[in-house]
Symmetry: C2
DNA sequence: ATGCGTCGCGACGCTACCGTAGCGTCGTAA
DNA sequence: TTACGACGCTACGGTAGCGTCGCGACGCAT
């Protein structure tokens, strides 16, 4: 019986270490050191660095985002973007996510896992919002949900994760307004 | 006198190695091995891995993008996006750029260099296109060029560098149309 | 209470990389 | 042709991480 307290301490240590050094430089020894346990504690739980990262990352990335109907496309978009923004603002997330996305270009396993999770989430959220807007008559019925999702997430990710500009309520409102117009204009 | 043929071989090897292994795992030995020279050849030219990467990256990222006036905002945007897309489609670039952006979150020197280059280029291109559109009466005079640039680059980067979806002429045309609408709607 | 099983811990050999120093070589100028 | 200067190459000690193995301790069921 593995002691669960150590398992969760290792999960936390992995996340912190991942943020501090990145996947490339990540070492099992450092994770164990940070968690205050020995390396064997890790090898008994995960066969490799990759498996460990995949398990922890899918657990975190798999969390669903609740999206109540606000009554308008702009409101739905603003709410969704606010949720994503607060997720991306976490210092750990804002360092780990770009790092893993970069590593995904090189490592097929990470790429497949992340892509599946990301596109699935994006498709679910985007599809839901777009479907509601079509129902309200705000969007034409042939609107592409995929393209809409890209138009929403793209600028937000670019600002927060790449440029690391601050992004307050006002900016998010502007981005949501712009995204609504972009979807209406281009996603069909 | 350093032999320039070796210097450029080292630059090429650095870029390839950077794409293959990432900045974190990048080793001087591997670069030298790939270039077919010894480590000292590198240490005579650059004092550290960081300096070497910064020099090569700024040299590549500093290239200007020519933007002739096409007569319309949508046309200008489509042209600019096509240029960026072809740059991002190069396998080397599409692996190195996300990697360095992720590393930038952790390494202030890389971050400062990249951010300066990126925001400068984005501001130049975005400002130029927006200014023309304002002159034509396509956009209100208080349009924010920065926000406009984010709305253009964001979805493109997201699609090409993060999701790695194919992005042909038709998709780019759609994105340009959407970006034009987004700028008109939200960037003021 | 006691014996058994399971776990965490420290240590080990191994490999890769770092940054440097001395040596041999090649091009060049007198 | 010869002597000089600058270069690249091999070799080195030192460090850090990998994955494994045997030991000791602790918990649990009887």
């Amino acid at each position: 019986m593995l002691r669960s307290e150590i398992t969760s301490a290792l999960r936390d240590a992995l996340v912190e270490e991942l943020a501090a050094t990145g996947y490339g430089r990540l070492s099992i020894e450092a994770v164990a050191r940070r968690a205050g346990v020995a390396k064997t504690a890790i090898y008994r739980r995960w066969p490799s660095k990759l498996e460990m990262v995949l398990e922890v990352v899918t657990a975190i990335a798999g969390q669903r985002l609740e999206l109540p109907d606000t009554g308008s496309l702009r409101g739905d978009l603003e709410l969704a973007m606010r949720g994503m923004a607060s997720a991306l603002r976490h210092p750990l997330a804002s360092q780990i996510i770009p790092d893993l996305l970069a590593e995904a270009a090189r490592n097929p396993d990470i790429g497949a896992t992340l892509q599946q999770t990301l596109t699935e989430t994006g498709r679910t959220v985007g599809g839901q919002v777009v479907e509601r807007a079509i129902g309200r008559g705000e969007l034409p019925p042939d609107t592409h949900a995929d393209l809409a999702a890209d138009l929403v997430i793209g600028p937000l990710y670019w600002r927060l994760a790449v440029l690391r500009k601050p992004c307050g309520k006002a900016e998010i409102r502007g981005l949501a307004q712009a995204a609504a117009a972009a979807i209406a204009a281009g996603a069909h």
